[in-house]
């Protein structure tokens, strides 16, 4: 009977994507996104804007574009245990993710110098040692994450797009990552419930690891690609005028 009623009921027709109703929804999304961007631009924290349509990842502060990283690949990862997926229905686009920190953390290895007491010795004091560059100081791991509070993490495999990496090195990296993923997927903590796997050029990925400021925030753009690009660059074009 229920089946019969269901079969006789009029099938709701999906409104066309260019219908006035769709336009309202698009504008609602767009204004919500602009509000988030404005909120980020008004804060003191550094923030990343990931635009899947461009595609690029931009480091920003107070509305200024500091560094743009071209995204070569973007995937979404969900944990699964024994082939059963654990999808979390939370919204992740168009919301601000905060307290992003590097994992593994970048080591800080400071040179400590204790000054000679005044007047001790006539000789010219030795110049302080030359601090190493970032490249010399921090080896970039084959895979790193930027973990945000509330469970989102951005995964960056710096050597993914590096054609010079051999098969054995790739296999070793995969093996190590697989074990890490098994442990993370089985974890009960509310972390890593959603991953964005962002492939950058090896140079960009290493640069991001070396220079990512602490407690960074993230906004993943969504909506109509033609209009959201304008908001990233701060241009004032509106839909239909470009």
């Amino acid at each position: 009977m229920v089946l019969a009623v269901g079969a006789c009921a009029p099938v709701p027709t999906e409104p066309a994507s260019d219908s006035p109703a769709a336009e309202v929804v698009r504008l609602e999304q767009r204004t919500a996104l602009l509000e988030r961007q404005l909120e980020l631009a008004g804060g003191k924290e550094f923030y990343l804007v990931l635009d899947p349509a461009a595609p690029d990842l931009t480091l920003m502060l107070r509305g200024a574009q500091l560094r743009r990283y071209a995204v070569l690949g973007l995937q979404i990862g969900y944990p699964r245990i024994s082939w059963f997926g654990r999808r979390h229905p939370r919204t992740w686009q168009g919301v601000t993710w905060s307290n992003g920190e590097l994992d593994p953390p970048r080591p800080t290895d400071r040179i400590v110098v204790t000054a000679e007491p005044v007047g001790k010795g006539e000789a010219e004091p030795e110049p302080p040692p030359m601090p190493p560059t970032a490249e010399e100081l921090y080896p970039v791991p084959p895979r790193f994450h930027i973990r945000f509070s509330s469970g989102l993490s951005v995964e960056i495999p710096p050597r993914e797009a590096d054609a010079s990496v051999g098969r054995f090195a790739r296999l070793r990296a995969w093996w190590s990552a697989k074990w890490g993923d098994v442990v993370a997927a089985m974890g009960l903590r509310d972390r890593d419930v959603l991953r964005l796997r962002v492939v950058l050029s090896p140079k960009d990925a290493e640069s991001l690891y070396w220079s990512l400021p602490p407690a960074v925030r993230l906004l993943v753009l969504t909506g109509d690609p033609a209009t959201r690009r304008a908001s990233t660059t701060g241009e004032t074009s509106v839909p239909g005028t470009r």
């Binding site: 204004t31 631009a41 560094r67 969900y78 024994s82 204790t114 000679e116 640069s207 220079s211």
Partner: protein
């Protein structure tokens, strides 16, 4: 036999545990709730939202730096002079070394030579700046801290120009251009003579400085 089956089962479970990656797909815009609205309502909503959008875009533009601004990448020791998103100048610079200096005697103070991260602005500009050496400069060189203020003045070591951006930090020249590209400063940003002249010509009072 049972051991082999258990091992196989474990391998299957292990293979199926981890993360499943899917390509990013844009979520389509699905109208909800508003499909029952009348055409007049929708027109009104669209007009209101377009007005709001214009307002937000204009506020976002106002929040972004206006005109020329400076971006400093202290990890790679680079200074960029930018307008909008165009790079007008890329200069090799020297940022803070991150070194820790402990005072060997006396007050046993400690200084950390970091360049601060964040957003700043040019607060003052000086031609042929004179450096008033702080205590750490004497401690580092193993010299007594002078009582006479005049003995603190150092002429020429900051180059031709200095752009002061607060808390004792400046963008200035250097006598040691061969060290540019290395993080060797005490927190200030050192720039080579030719690049400093260009920065001086374009950066005015209030020019924004972003350091990351």
């Amino acid at each position: 036999m049972a051991g082999a089956v258990a091992g196989l089962l474990l391998a299957v479970v292990w293979a199926g545990t981890g993360y499943r990656y899917e390509p990013y797909v844009e979520t389509p815009v699905v109208p909800w709730g508003s499909e029952r609205s009348t055409e007049r309502d929708l027109k009104q909503q669209t007009a209101r939202l377009r007005g709001r959008e214009r307002q937000l875009l204009s506020r976002l533009k106002a929040a972004a730096p206006q005109g020329v601004y400076i971006v400093i990448d202290q990890t790679h020791n680079r200074l960029y002079l930018k307008r909008d998103n165009d790079i007008l100048l890329e200069a090799v610079c020297s940022a803070g070394s991150g070194m820790v200096l402990n005072e060997g005697s006396g007050k046993k103070r400690q200084w950390v030579f970091d360049t601060p991260r964040g957003s700043f602005e040019v607060l003052s500009r000086a031609e042929n700046p004179v450096w008033r050496k702080p205590d750490w400069a004497f401690v580092e060189e193993g010299e007594p801290i002078p009582m006479d203020l005049a003995e603190r003045f150092d002429y020429g070591s900051l180059g031709e120009y200095a752009l002061y951006f607060g808390n004792g930090y400046m963008i200035h020249g250097t006598l040691y251009e061969r060290l540019l590209g290395r993080a060797v400063s005490h927190g200030c940003i050192r720039v080579g003579r030719d690049d400093l002249r260009k920065v001086w010509a374009m950066a005015k009072l209030g020019t924004r400085i972003y350091i990351y």
